[in-house]
Amino acid sequence: MGLLDARISNRNVLVTSVDNVMNWARLSSLWPMGFGLACCAIEMMATNASNYDLERFGIFPRSSPRQSDLMIVAGTVTMKMAERVITLYEQMPEPRYVLSMGSCSNCGGPYWNHGYHVLKGVDRVIPVDVYVPGCPPRPEALIGGLMKIQELIRMEGIGLSRQDALKKLAEKSVDPQQVIDQARKVATA
Amino acid sequence: MEMFTAIGLNHFLTISTMLFALGMFAVMTRKNAIVILMGVELILNAANINFLAFSKYNGGMEGVMISLFVIVLAAAEAAVALAIVINIFKTFKTVDVSSVDTMKE
């Protein structure tokens, strides 16, 4: 039974500072599993490559799920692949995060209506933390998504579930409608 | 107390005896050829401890030199013996010495 499993009711200064250190470590060293499915994977590779260089954030891909913290589901998950994705996800040690990259893994994307063999969203089989939209998402978008994951981790803590963290985040984050309004402003500007 | 704290020749001899006995036991009772080989290695180690112990407490180089040659021997022995074991295994599909000697090719 480790500390990260513990349920702590009173969160004093000590706990929070331990939290901060541990969260900092986790968010600074997110090792994704080198795992590409489709076109998005190429953009993921491009993000890893020199021009965007994910290693700046301490993100560098490991090929074994055992040593990775983050699963970037980059591409179309098909029915045949779904079970493998579950297995691979399960084989990652906790704490683990899932980033769904691209329309396909968000919700089936371009293949959602007639794609009989396409899983309509990877969140049907594994819990997803952050959804990155785009088809394929630009490297910038992927980096943005990873920063969102870092934001999420920052909110986590000993004895806090992921849901709590999300709630905490939701309190801080903006309403999606505002995003649109903002977009409107950007577009009109 | 003195007997336990002042490490002397007898301590080493005792250990070497134990190793030797364990090695003997393995050689005598185990059926797996590889474990028998391990037993032989234990015996050689026990012998080496004795050589070195006597060498130290007698102050000559003989023990050291002989133990060196024993190690050479052990290496050669291990190489050849394991090659034989592997060959036995290839032929009889087992490393069980008790069944090997009753088997014919």
Binding site: M79, C107, G108, W112, Y116, H117 | -
Partner: protein, 177 residues
């Protein structure tokens, strides 16, 4: 359609003429086993009527010195729903020998129909036939390894048939959106 055929019969492009020449050789050898030549300007083809001779025709096409269709460029399954048939369309060409190209159609019954496999003539037919089987469900007789190739082994139905209904769940995962 008819008009187009007529036109094509009158003025055939060089490519179609080449195909026609190749067809004539086959026709000469196999007679009624093959249908009339369809001088489709974009893809001239003929149909194999006697499917049992399909492998022979294929072998002849590959090995005859005048044809040398050594490359099967494509093999597509097709569902002829109205005719109640399934079929394959193969595109052939001759690499390095001639410039002629031709397409061949082979059809079989929609239910329980089978087509002889030509994977013993062209390696490439092997996977293409598996794919056609996977998508349409026609059986290729004599195929060495006729398994589904794209869909999972335990997938139900043949997705590209016109009347395909997608299954509700697969291994407990919901399939439709």
């Amino acid at each position: 359609m008819d008009k187009a055929m007529e036109e094509a019969g009158n003025i055939m492009s060089a490519m179609v003429q080449e195909s026609k020449a190749a067809y004539d050789i086959i026709r000469e050898r196999f007679g009624e086993a093959v249908s009339e030549f369809d001088a489709n300007p974009t893809m001239p083809f003929f149909e194999v009527l006697d499917t049992a001779r399909w492998v022979d025709i294929a072998l002849f096409m590959r090995d005859d010195a005048r044809l040398k269709f050594n490359c099967m460029a494509c093999l597509s399954g097709v569902d002829y729903l109205e005719e109640g048939k399934l079929g394959i369309v193969c595109n052939f060409e001759s690499i390095g020998q001639y410039t002629h190209r031709i397409a061949v159609k082979v059809k079989c019954q929609r239910d329980g129909g089978s087509i002889p496999s030509v994977s013993c003539v062209w390696h490439t037919a092997n996977w293409h036939e598996r794919e056609a089987y996977d998508m349409y469900g026609m059986v290729f007789d004599g195929h060495p390894d006729l398994r589904r190739i794209l869909c999972p082994e335990d997938w139900t139905g043949f997705p590209l048939r016109k009347d395909y209904q997608v299954q509700e769940t697969y291994h407990g995962i919901k399939v439709p959106y």
